[in-house]
Symmetry: C2
Subunit: 321 residues, 2 copies
């Protein structure tokens, strides 16, 4: 019990032994950022790499949470009943500062399964922080021995696309009906999709949506996909129909990536992005420490009062370039 | 003609005289950022303030573009046929780097109206840049004499919420039907809405959506709204039905803000946010200049190869704190 109040190293040890509260504390450290997050990252950097991360993204209402729940059930029923971690990144109010857990309740059926770990992360208005915290949280879960990590994000907006970059395989979830595929394309999801799921397939219009997706895929086709053509799977997450096909598609994509070192190349690119994010975050923290809250606040007041424009005020704060 | 190739000061002069290409070049400067953007900002900072900015946000597919087009038509038909500028912020692929103009074509009916200026801005993967560029672009249009500026953004994601902060009045667009109001709430739109529009009202389910919105508004109610209770307007943007009610709601909110200095207080808060964004951007540019592309690239390679974790690499690049 006291382990959950220990140092990062003690927390890692306890979490490895299966203590969930220690795992939760490690993830909270990562979410908060700062020196403790950094220690956690360094402790676990070498141990990560054997887990596999599946990102699921799409517009609000596409049924991602239900699909994640169905997918979790199917993965858990595999040969050695592998453990599954679910990391849900919730867009949250910039004002309330809290995560809205909303449809996390749909995961209720797995809440008592000791082989399933569910965690929500909120944006809390720190976007840079999230781009940093999510891949780090994935690494913690990976290093602590989860063979499957499901990363659920809302798919509209650049940051969500960045967060999806932390996944090995990215599943883009749309619904049948005119326009959904078009919107996915507009939101920049066409290029990041390794697999498409048309969820709520019972609604009809699946054929048209499949046609739209194929048409847009042919426009967006790139040369660096190593010959992978994203399959399109129709599912009814509520009943579980089609989810076995999704698992087959995931396995196929994983095999594809593992051939010829593509998986390692993807992960290397992700680590590279993480490094740049850390550098920017570090610089921001330093600037606040160096110039002081007081001077910054006074100049912000002057800009607010229209006494000076934002660029001139930045010059005054930071000195000439 | 040669004016469109001049200095920022010359471009401002030409744009004031009505030259659209000069206006387009000023907005491109702002979008690119850098010293030219800064000069444009300083030139126009004092002149801005008489235009009024309406932000329209909501999930993809809610019909924002059609609504913007209908609203443009109605505003243009007002007493002195005021000019209208439309700034559409498109989410775009992080890979293609280009704006997908998609439904800009719906504005086609206004494309030949010399009193309407339409401009799309892409994210181009520079999120900080967008948070900076959008309010600056609004200021350019304001300072150059547009009495109405319509700012259309996709409403899911923190950045889009930030961008919406550049508006005087924020309109959140949802569709009828179960769940849309819930999703708007999840996306953090409840707190930023000054007016709700239930678009595609012909679909039915308006009463339920209105009920949901009211229920969530009562939960999200804050004390700092000066007694404003966001009205809920039902529209059919395709036919123009209800858009006159939206204009009335806009007028009412504007009057509300103008009473007791609330409008100026909102704008002061926005300028404050802009100042902080400029400071962060300036620090980032300096860091690149100081540490050099080469050293940064080598350390990024080391992180990618798992030779060192991102935090230790950042230490090596930037030195100890």
């Amino acid at each position: 019990m006291s382990a959950s109040r220990g140092s990062p190293a003690e927390l890692v040890e306890a979490a490895r032994a299966g203590d969930r509260r220690s795992l939760a504390r490690l993830l909270s450290s990562v979410e908060r950022g700062g020196p403790e997050a950094r220690e956690v990252a360094s402790l676990l950097f070498d141990a990560a790499g054997s887990g596999y991360t599946v990102g699921l993204t799409g517009a609000p209402g596409a049924g991602k949470s239900t699909l994640v729940s169905a997918l979790t059930g199917l993965l858990r029923s595999g040969g050695d009943e592998p453990r599954v971690a679910v990391l849900a990144v919730d867009p949250s109010s910039p004002f309330s500062g809290g995560a809205i857990l909303g449809d996390r309740v749909r995961m209720g059926e797995h809440a008592l399964d000791p082989g399933v770990y569910i965690r929500s992360m909120a944006t809390r208005g720190h976007l840079g922080g999230l781009a940093l915290a999510v891949p780090e949280a994935v690494r913690v879960l990976d290093a602590l021995g989860f063979p499957w990590i499901l990363l659920e994000t809302v798919g509209v907006g650049q940051v969500e696309v960045d967060v999806a970059g932390a996944a090995d395989t990215t599943v883009v979830v749309v619904n049948p009906g005119w326009g959904d595929a078009v919107q996915a394309n507009k939101a920049g999801l066409m290029e990041i999709a390794d697999i498409f799921v048309i969820n709520k397939a019972d609604r009809g219009g699946v054929r048209q949506t499949r046609h739209d997706l194929k048409a847009m895929l042919s426009l967006a086709a790139s040369d660096d996909d190593g010959g992978w053509s994203p399959p399109i799977v129709a599912t009814e997450a509520e009943t579980g129909k089609g989810v076995d096909e999704l698992v087959e598609a995931l396995d196929a994509h994983r095999r594809h990536l593992e051939e010829g070192g593509r998986l390692e190349a993807r992960r290397a690119a992700q680590r590279r992005r993480e490094f740049h994010a850390v550098v920017v975050e570090r610089l921001r923290a330093r600037a606040i420490a160096k110039y002081g809250e007081q001077a910054t606040a006074e100049l912000a007041d002057a800009v607010a009062a229209r006494e000076v424009d934002p660029y001139v005020a930045a010059d005054r704060l930071l000195g000439p370039d």
